[in-house]
Symmetry: none
Subunit: 346 residues, 2 copies
């Protein structure tokens, strides 16, 4: 995490602490949350890189999705294609061999590496990591111990390796299962990670990490999301997906929400749209925060989380308006361009 990023955490921890304090009355808290959302949307716009003819391929982001399994080929595809449609230049998938042939056939736009079930999977993935800006870990990964071990080893490589391996992470789905098996994989990860549990995944993480028995709910207490993030470490964001998305920053202990319009449709693949878009927004937010003339006033991981949640919700609303109960993840991905233009366009 950049020096610049750290200074953000300190600044924010005071100004937004009120959100999780019981001292404010309900109305005041709600108003502050709404004002914070408006600010987060403005911050999200600031991180979007300009489309300029002087740019070269890769500069707008090279994202790697590690996932896929015998059963799941859609999830890593949705994540990787969403990253591309949000605006990165190159989107890679690292998956098992049998999944690769299927994922490749979904789209010629992706670069698919059939390596995740190889004996030397980590060795095969390793040379690609320096070429990527961010890793999205977990979509469709499955719970096979061998896959979990490979992914753990990759995170450890990113944690302890030279600077070229030090990548920000987005962890979703079975990547979160990995963390319930061994929280030390991610605790105090120094290069930034966004964890994106849904209600059930959140309650499982809370049980293992905080020894708390919180019932899964789409409307968790913001204080609880904060406690999990703080317990995981200063560079960890916990993004609880729900009726309102709750974003807690382990560094500052601050909590935000994304309460933009949502839908009741819960078809598979929506979380993958979010994880892929988070890979891109996290990359952009970190790039923006490292600029000497950076105008960002909030932590990169928080801005990225808000941008990803808000975009995903907007895609869902637009897709459901068009296809109603028949909406599938691909319908939502088709809405990335107009949703992006509406929320984050120039």
């Amino acid at each position: 995490m950049s020096k610049c990023g750290k200074s953000f955490y300190i600044k924010v921890s005071f100004s937004v602490r009120c959100f999780v304090s019981g001292a404010y009355n309900k109305m005041g808290k709600d108003n502050e949350l709404v004002a914070a959302e408006a600010k987060l949307l403005l911050e999200s716009r600031k991180i979007v890189p300009p489309l300029t003819q002087k740019s070269y391929k890769g500069q707008a982001g090279r994202i790697g999705v590690i996932g896929g399994s015998l059963e799941y080929t859609g999830a890593p595809y949705f994540s990787a294609i969403s990253a591309l449609k949000v605006g990165c230049d190159l989107s890679h998938v690292f998956c098992p061999k049998d999944a690769a042939i299927v994922i490749k056939s979904y789209s010629p736009e992706l670069i698919v590496h059939p390596v995740l079930d190889a004996k030397d999977a980590v060795e095969q993935i390793k040379p690609w990591i320096p070429r990527l800006h961010a890793l999205v870990i977990g979509p469709g990964l499955g719970k096979e111990p061998s896959a979990i071990e490979i992914v753990s080893d990759i995170i450890n490589l990113c944690r302890t390796g030279d600077s070229e391996y030090q990548k920000p992470l987005v962890i979703d789905a079975d990547g979160l299962f990995m963390i319930t098996q061994n929280p030390e994989v991610i605790r105090n990860y120094p290069h930034g990670a966004i964890l994106t549990p849904n209600a059930i995944e959140f309650s499982r993480l809370a049980k293992v990490i905080l020894q708390e028995d919180w019932a899964a709910t789409p409307e968790p207490a913001m204080e609880n999301v904060k406690r999990l993030a703080v317990a995981l470490g200063p560079n960890i964001i916990v993004l609880h997906k729900g009726k309102v998305d709750v974003i807690a920053d382990g560094g500052s202990g601050s909590v935000w929400q994304c309460s933009g319009p949502g839908v009741g449709r819960r078809c598979g693949g929506q979380g993958d749209l979010l994880s892929g878009s988070l890979g891109v927004f996290y990359t952009w937010a970190l790039m923006a925060s490292r600029k000497s003339d950076s105008k960002c006033q909030l932590p990169p991981g928080v801005i990225a989380s808000y941008a990803g949640c808000r975009l995903t919700r907007e895609c869902a609303v637009r897709a459901v308006a068009r296809a109603g109960r028949s909406t599938v993840a691909s319908d939502m991905i088709d809405e990335i361009h107009p949703a992006f233009e509406t929320l984050l366009g120039e």
Copy 2:
């Protein structure tokens, strides 16, 4: 290269030398470049063969793309399908076995040969070469020594074989990596080749071939592009892709540009659209130059390069107008028909 082609080089080398001379003031040079672009667009229109009911299958071009690898299946697909959509009749892909099944699944329009990882790959590809008009070498090829060796052997076959093997080449991506490994593969290739480096590939080629340490830039000095082309030989075109595309002819030492509107989107696959379209335009330009009543006044490789660059830029502009930052290579390929009609239609 036809006798007719050679006479062009001589004529052009004098009339356009001014573009790379410091003697002209900036305004004069800019005006000349603009005038040259107008001329190149007119020349591009002249090479397009008429759609006539008297023609037979294959007459408008049979293009072979040699590429693809374990990771990359999209690149050779984009190149081959672009060739078909620009207007050739038959588009072949020569790729490894595992890539072939995927590339076939992208489109039933392509003829896909699963041969590039066979022990006798060159022997298997050899009988197809006489049936093709041009070879596009490199899209998604990868850097495996065995693939590089096969492709080098094929170029050598085209260089030294009987007339039926003497084919014009388009070399892109890892085909350019091959040349940085061994420039002699392409130096003084007698049957015409267009090399299409981006900024980074160009700087690597310059380092190996000219022992120059030029920083990669999307706006290279035209003089530098010329120097590389001249060093490679009289039948070599170097097409530097960038903010403005720069086209240098190793034969005459002349330099042109394609400065038509472009975009800031740099998703993967745009270079493949260019390489596939160059295969077709090169075929057409050479066909036109060999006609006894040829009206072309510029070297075939230069006309082809300009047509390919201009079409690719127009496709990009149209796609980005439609899909913005979400634009992917397939969106651009969808624009080949209207872009072609606008620029080169009758």
